[in-house]
Amino acid sequence: MADAWTVSQIEVVTAAIEDMAGRLSAIAPGTREFHGQVSTHATAAANTSAHEAMSGLMARWATALPQFAEAGERLQAAMHGAARAYAKSDAAVAAAADTRERPS
């Protein structure tokens, strides 16, 4: 019975969630890098009749990309938050298990 508490499933999940959070960490910086290049391409159709459409599209990207970056951050933070919650639960379970197994 004691072995069952040694490495709880919660602990495994915590590590897995943290791993996934790490995978999500590239979303925000990657998106922001693209956002930094928006203005460069806003005038790509200058001196053509497509200029307005092009600048309009880039304006829409300029608005949306930070929000995509925010979404990435939120997801990553959510994963970290979940991992912390599970770690907390894991610690609580482990502590309880220690108490339970302590000779009375």
Binding site: V13, G30, S49, A50, A77, A78
Partner: protein, 500 residues
């Protein structure tokens, strides 16, 4: 390049290289979004089922599903933009190349024309001179001859020779004039032809620009839902607040379940149990470690909250916070409340079943129905007019099964984590939906075992009724229904659920 003459036309304007660079940028952006969506999908796929389940997992999966959809949509938008820009950039580059060549031809032939026009002017002047010379020669030839010197014949021959020479010179000049005129005519034709070609290229470039405009203007870039309502979607998982404290829908069931288990173990009354629930909630809200919280335990010397409780709870998974497709946490809370009232081992098991809140909900409802049956509503049970036992009274709250369903799952219900019927749904409608569900899924499936593995009687019927019947516990419109009946075939609950 200095253009010596005005060609009257020009090559298409614009910077194809910039357009192609913008196309590449969009292609890279599309790839980035696709990779991001794949990564997000991977996290969902890796953290599901046995690996990670429960309310947090469900929230993350829902959240990710929404975000993935927007990333993929953005990838498609970027890809479409890239295609439009690459086409326009490539076309513009080719048309500019052709346009510049055409303009150069115009300039060339204008220059040639200018020279040939001067040649023509000179030829015309030469003709005029030759014409005058010829006229003079003829006039001289027709003048009277005065006989002296070499003789009349010689004079006449000389005059005739001059006329002939003048005529030859005139013919030569006229030939040169015609040649010059032809050259000018040819030059003008070339100028007009190349000007026309340049104009066609210009218009073709304009058409390409219009096509690009038509492709780019409609492209929308809807931001991910998180941007608009981050709190709504991330509260369950938010890291900027204590996890459970920020999620009363999770903390309340947990508190109820733990308090109920503690009450059962220590034979406590409702007052102590309710006090413990509040104590646990206070601890969760303040971020206090649960092990530092003391519960009502008159027969124990102390110990942490989980001490003594866990021994009676099988912690076999990670769904300690609740989970399930329909009504995980809130139904577990209901189960805990029922457990507190009835104090039966069955319902306490349900109350402590945060590990499987859906089962707990079924268990709790089943327990209530079972208790109702034990209360002796034999008349209702035997009634052919109410074969599903809608009017059977639940002993714990005095409500009928139908009242319970409407109270918890009706359109006006404010119960958290419960599927709700669509606005305007009447009791008759509910019964109709129940009948349709059972008709569509006549076999149903057995009720899942209790958390401790004890088999439970009864059946669950799940069916897609083909029309929106209400909303899931997440507030998503759904056409799916679930009906739960006990071992006697009496209805326990019925509510909209997510697609199965």
């Amino acid at each position: 390049v200095t253009i010596p003459v005005d060609p009257g036309v020009s090559a298409p304007t614009g910077d194809p290289d910039s357009l192609l660079a913008a196309a590449s940028w969009h292609e890279n952006l599309s790839g980035f979004f696709e990779n991001t969506a794949t990564t997000l999908q991977y996290t969902v796929g890796s953290l599901s089922g046995a690996n990670w389940s429960g309310e947090a997992a469900s929230s993350y999966q829902d959240l990710t599903g929404l975000v993935v959809g927007h990333f993929r949509l953005a990838a498609t938008t970027a890809s479409d933009a890239a295609a439009a820009l690459r086409r326009y950039g490539a076309k513009l580059a080719a048309l500019q190349h052709e346009g510049v060549a055409a303009v150069k031809q115009v300039v060339h032939w204008m220059t040639v024309l200018n020279a040939d026009q001067k040649t023509l002017e000179k030829a015309q002047a030469d003709v005029k001179t030759a014409q005058n010379a010829y006229t003079d020669a003829q006039a001289a030839a027709n003048a009277p001859i005065t006989a002296h010197g070499p003789g009349i014949v010689a004079i006449a021959n000389a005059r005739a020779h001059q006329v002939s020479q003048a005529q030859t010179a005139l013919q030569t000049a006229q030939t040169a004039e015609r040649t010059a005129q032809k050259a000018v005519n040819d030059d003008e034709h070339q100028v007009h032809a190349w000007q026309a070609k340049a104009r066609l290229i210009w218009h073709e470039a304009q058409n390409e620009a219009a096509l690009a405009t038509g492709n780019l203007e409609p492209l929308e870039v809807p931001p991910p839902p998180l941007a608009g309502a981050p709190v709504t979607f991330t509260d369950t998982l938010a890291d900027d607040a204590p996890f459970l404290a920020a999620n009363p829908q999770l903390s309340a069931p947990l508190a109820h379940a733990i308090a109920a288990a503690n009450a059962k173990k220590n034979h406590l009354g409702n007052s102590d149990e309710n006090h413990d629930v509040q104590t646990i909630l206070n601890a969760l809200n303040s971020g206090t470690n649960l092990n530092d919280v003391k519960l009502s335990a008159p027969h124990h010397g102390g110990g942490g909250l989980l001490n003594g409780i866990l021994s009676g709870i099988a912690v076999t998974g990670t769904e300690i916070l609740g989970g399930g497709p329909e009504d995980p946490a809130a139904d577990a809370a209901s189960a805990a409340e029922v457990a507190a009232i009835e104090g039966t081992s069955e319902t306490v098991a349900a109350a402590t079943a945060g590990a499987d809140a859906t089962d707990a909900a079924i268990e709790a409802d089943a327990a209530a129905a079972g208790a109702e049956g034990a209360a002796g509503s034999a008349g209702d049970l035997a009634s052919g007019e109410d074969p599903l036992g809608y009017d059977n009274v639940r002993p714990n709250d005095g409500k009928s099964a139908l009242e319970h369903i409407l109270e918890r799952h009706g359109p006006e219900s404010t119960a958290k984590g419960a599927g709700k019927y669509a606005d305007g749904t009447t009791t008759g409608d509910v019964k109709q939906l129940v009948n349709e569900t059972i008709e569509k899924d006549p076999e149903g499936e057995p009720n899942t075992p209790a958390p401790d593995g004890t088999p439970r009687e009864g059946t669950r019927y799940n069916a897609d009724l083909g029309r929106i019947v209400g909303k899931t516990s997440k507030g998503v419109p759904t056409s799916w229904m679930r009906v739960i009946v006990d071992g006697n075939g009496k209805i326990i609950s019925a509510y909209p659920i997510p697609p199965q």
